[in-house]
Symmetry: C2
Subunit: 148 residues, 2 copies
């Protein structure tokens, strides 16, 4: 009488759902890896984006991360509070805010260099397969963004 219904997976054929689910799964893996740094995944991306630069504007960060100031400003303020980044008005154009790593932020960014390797291992895929997936997703993203 074992009449358990089939596993409820009505999303076959929904590529969007596979992207969504992979995003959730990535987020959880990153959470595990980043918790000891007190970082979230988007904050990690900000540190990576700032690494090796001295002062990107909020707008440039937004272009890199596909986010707007309504998301970035509060996040950057939190990171300022935790001492990872500094926010300063551009002296020439006072509208612009330049974000740069503090010494501590640069230190943390340095310690994060092992993360990509750990994530690759967790993904269980070869670098080549990941690379192919990445290329395919980038094409998809570009199309989706152009369709607006």
């Amino acid at each position: 009488m074992d009449q358990t219904p089939p596993p409820p997976a009505p999303f076959e054929g929904f590529a969007c759902f596979s992207v969504y689910a992979a995003g959730l799964a990535f987020n959880r893996v990153y959470k595990r890896l980043l918790d000891r740094f007190g970082l979230t995944y988007p904050q990690y991306l900000v540190l990576v984006a700032l690494r090796g630069t001295s002062g990107r504007t909020v707008g440039e960060l937004g272009d890199a991360l596909f986010l707007d100031s309504n998301t970035l400003t509060p996040m950057l303020k939190r990171m300022e509070t935790t001492g990872l980044v500094a926010r300063n008005r551009d002296s020439v154009d006072q509208r612009v805010v330049r974000v740069s790593l503090t010494e501590q932020g640069a230190q943390v960014a340095q310690e994060l260099t092992c993360i990509p390797h750990d994530v690759t291992v967790a993904s269980g895929m070869t670098p080549e397969a990941l690379s192919a997936l990445e290329a395919s997703l980038n094409v998809l993203t570009q199309h989706l963004r152009n369709s607006a």
Copy 2:
């Protein structure tokens, strides 16, 4: 003197970022398509998951959507408020809440059947390419989830 820095794209080789960016892009496309129904993307997934059933538990929905009750309960309550779903305690096991489509919810779910086609068009990819991408992402997701 046009020394604009190269486009800030320091995320090559980060498959996670491609997944993240594709998720954001999908979300925006769906927002455009779903706004006239007053639906968000996760709410859309719930309607699809409930289509053709009469009463899934919150836990079953969570298994299907990879979400927990802390996310689903408030969302389902919102959908109850907007008249799309009904929430009822199971009469046999009072711990369980069964979620089903209302008549209006079933009606809306019916009208949503054109969405996948619209999204496929927006993706600019062939169904075959999307299918391959989906399979690859599902493997990735499974690995990431197993690595916990």
